[in-house]
């Protein structure tokens, strides 16, 4: 076993994660190599130092209540976001309808009337079809009356 392999396995040995074959191989190397043995010793001491860390404090008793508040707040925020999205969609649809109607009423007819007296619309906007149909009917009625 080479030193770089041994040093990597020292940590695994501390954790009991070495299989028996590698364990025996590492122990043999440590007996022969003072530098790796020193590394093993320093890693062992650093492990012991961890045990001197302050233990965790008890779980804060108000944590559960704060969690419930957090969840409720998140749920309200999601519900408000959904409502805003619905309102926005409705506003967009209304705006489109209004724009379409306004365009039909206000925009000039492109290239004049292209239909005939029977009221075939040709290429006119929808509002104009209605107006034209009314004119054609009135004209037909007037003719019939005459």
């Amino acid at each position: 076993m080479r030193c770089f392999q041994a040093r990597k396995r020292i940590s695994a040995q501390l954790d009991g994660e070495l299989d028996p074959r590698r364990q025996a191989s590492l122990e043999g190397h440590l007996q022969r190599c003072p530098r790796c043995k020193a590394v093993a010793e320093s890693l062992r001491k650093s492990e012991q130092a961890l045990a001197r860390l302050e233990p965790p404090p008890p779980l804060p008793p108000d944590l559960r209540d704060r969690l419930i508040e957090d969840l409720d707040r998140a749920r309200r925020a999601r519900r408000d976001a959904r409502r805003r999205a619905v309102l926005l969609r409705a506003a967009c649809v209304a705006a489109c309808i209004l724009a379409g109607f306004a365009a039909g009423v206000l925009l000039p007819r492109p290239g004049g009337f292209s239909g005939d007296a029977s009221g075939r619309p040709g290429a006119l906007p929808e509002a104009a079809y209605v107006a034209e149909a009314f004119d054609a009917t009135a004209f037909g009625f007037a003719e019939a009356w005459d």
């Binding site: 990597k8 940590s11 130092a49 961890l50 302050e54 965790p56 804060p60 969690l67 998140a74």
Partner: protein, 174 residues
Amino acid sequence: MTDLAAGDRRALGILYERLSERVFRTAYRFLLDEDDARDVTQSVFVALLESASRYRPEAQLGTWLYRIVTNRCLNHRSEARRRLRGTRGEHRRIAELPAPDEQGPDQVLERAEERERVRAAMLRLPARQRIALVLRFFERRSYAEIAGILDCSRSSVESLLFRARRSLATFLGE
């Protein structure tokens, strides 16, 4: 978890009773700050609720939970706040020491200084090395479990732990 995914809030309560200590303990061991650990614990349970529908029953709950805790800890940006709070934190820790008549005052101070030294050394470790050490030394997770939690190979875990211990030894002057 299936009940939680179906929106059963009682299931969250049950999971909280079972898991909150473990989550808080792991977060505290990594962050070494009670307020930060509390924040992370809260965010873990919110994340549990939000991701419950993605939990697959064949996955180990422990591994899945630790993965959430780990990710929250690694993302938690508290280093700057800790530097600001450093002085206040030390005063609080000294205030929590046992009364001098229970142990000699010198011993009490010596132990407190030693704890602070180890704590500072832990905080100097790179985040992934620190979390690997917490999962192994304090949470007793196997290398295979840690590999699943950190989404890396077993060999990477071995390497992370070796580097963590070696760095810790260097910082402590061992």
